[in-house]
Amino acid sequence: MVLVSPVNHFPHFFHSRAIQHTCMLLSYLLERKADKEMVIMKLKKLESSMRSGRKLFRLGNMVHAMVAARRTTQLPDLVPRLCLTASNLSRVLYFICDTVLWVKSVGLIPDIDKQKWRNWATKCYYYSLLMNLTRDLYEISWRMEQEAQREKARKENSSHCDEQDQDLFSFHAGGLQPFLLLYHTLRKHPPLLLDTMKNLCDLSSPLDQLGIYKTNPGVIGLCGLLSSLVGILTVASPLMKLKH
């Protein structure tokens, strides 16, 4: 059972994050119903309690991000090296802003401009997600290229044409072919699919907060829940984690 894992405390946090976003989603869905005010109030209290608890336990994570940044400067390929190092440095700045916001929320230093620091924190998080997505797109594109070359070589070398091969690559020509190639590439590399999905889901919250693409708390809750589930999956089954 992932919850009782004595090895790593991260599963507890993924559960907290999953519960927090579920509460957000549920309170949005129940908002229209008339007699559910009590339930909505409790959901909001649970969500805020989870959020403040998670903020406390994020306090040391700036060091994690710095160590990760140091590690990614030694990657062999140029594009992942640049993207991941930039992403990790951005995360360091995000955790610094997060620590300042925690100090304010506990009341240690009351005269901190919460809006300004929250804006900076969201921007840093947004840039780190963009860098992660750039790396994901780079990985997808060269794997698609690899896949296309492999299919071309297979078609040229095969003495007889399989009916299905004919259907997939010559009959559905033009617009559909890149999508099919994308589908095959992602199906063959589940860690890459999960990582891309996680980053896309995580993007919904900063996009909303920065006003770039406003959605509603329901969408943010749903995306957050999906991203937490992917996180739990990568911890429960380490094969699903995208390796550098």
């Binding site: 009782v4 790593n8 405390h9 507890h12 309690s49 060091v63 506990v106």
Partner: protein
């Protein structure tokens, strides 16, 4: 930096750090109050302490199941006394964590009409029983080791006893006490895990003793005991050989 990453990757490590910080706040608050600090600053320290306490309760939401697993594992120990002490101690810990979870639900506003004081007293009672059993287990281990040491020294001991018969009974008693204390010191010095466990449990027991009103001390003393036991706990995480097995 790498040390922090490795340390915080272990279960309960960050929770112990925050426990140490929480009790440091208690101690600091008491010291500052005695030295006449401003009420505003004291309120901030108390708020920080409450925040850390609530955050730790959130983190500990799964610990009841962990304690039950430990109790299940302890049933298979060979020694009867150890089996009893560790199993019942873990069962009490599981009940303590269950009450703690309910307290968290009450403090986060999920159960608004909860009698927080009653559940707090309940949780401290279970914590107290768990610590009593831990100390009993420590006392049993110490006694076993002392007997083993004394058996090894028996030829010398009998000579001392023949010589003592000539002295008065009070001197005899004092000398026997000195020998026992010397033996205890030797046993504890040569078994650091046991020493760490004894000191940790002894410090921890003052917390429920104060909260249940059995032996009221002051917030400063409670804070100091909590801080010491948290630091020792962090030491056992950093140096796993210091953890008392089983």
């Amino acid at each position: 930096m790498d040390f922090w990453v490795q340390f915080s990757a272990q279960s309960q490590a960050k929770e112990r750090v925050f426990r140490a910080a929480q009790y440091a706040c208690t101690l600091l608050g008491y010291t500052l109050q005695k030295n006449g600090a401003s009420a505003d600053f004291l309120a901030r320290i108390k708020q920080l302490e409450a925040h850390m306490s609530l955050g730790r309760k959130l983190f500990r939401l799964g610990n009841s199941a962990d304690a039950l697993e430990s109790a299940k594992r302890a049933i298979h120990l060979s020694d009867v006394v150890l089996r009893f002490c560790i199993t019942v101690s873990n069962l009490n810990r599981a009940m303590y964590f269950a009450c703690d979870n309910i307290l968290w639900a009450g403090k986060s506003g999920l159960l608004p009409h909860m009698d927080q004081e009653k559940w707090s007293q309940r949780s401290f009672r279970y914590y107290f029983f768990a610590l009593i059993l831990n100390l009993s287990r420590d006392a049993y281990e110490i006694r076993l080791l002392m007997e083993r040491e004394a058996c090894g020294k028996r030829p010398k001991g009998s000579e001392t006893r023949h010589a003592l018969r000539a002295d008065s009974s009070l001197q005899h008693l004092v000398l026997r006490l000195k020998v026992q204390l010397h033996l205890l010191g030797h046993v504890l010095r040569s078994n650091p895990p046991l020493l760490v466990d004894v000191v940790k449990n002894a410090c921890d027991i003052f917390i429920p003793l104060d909260k249940l009103g059995l032996y009221k001390t002051n917030q400063g003393f409670v804070g100091l005991c909590g801080l010491t036991s948290s630091i020792l706990s962090i030491l056992t995480i950093v140096h796993p050989w210091l953890k008392l097995k089983p």
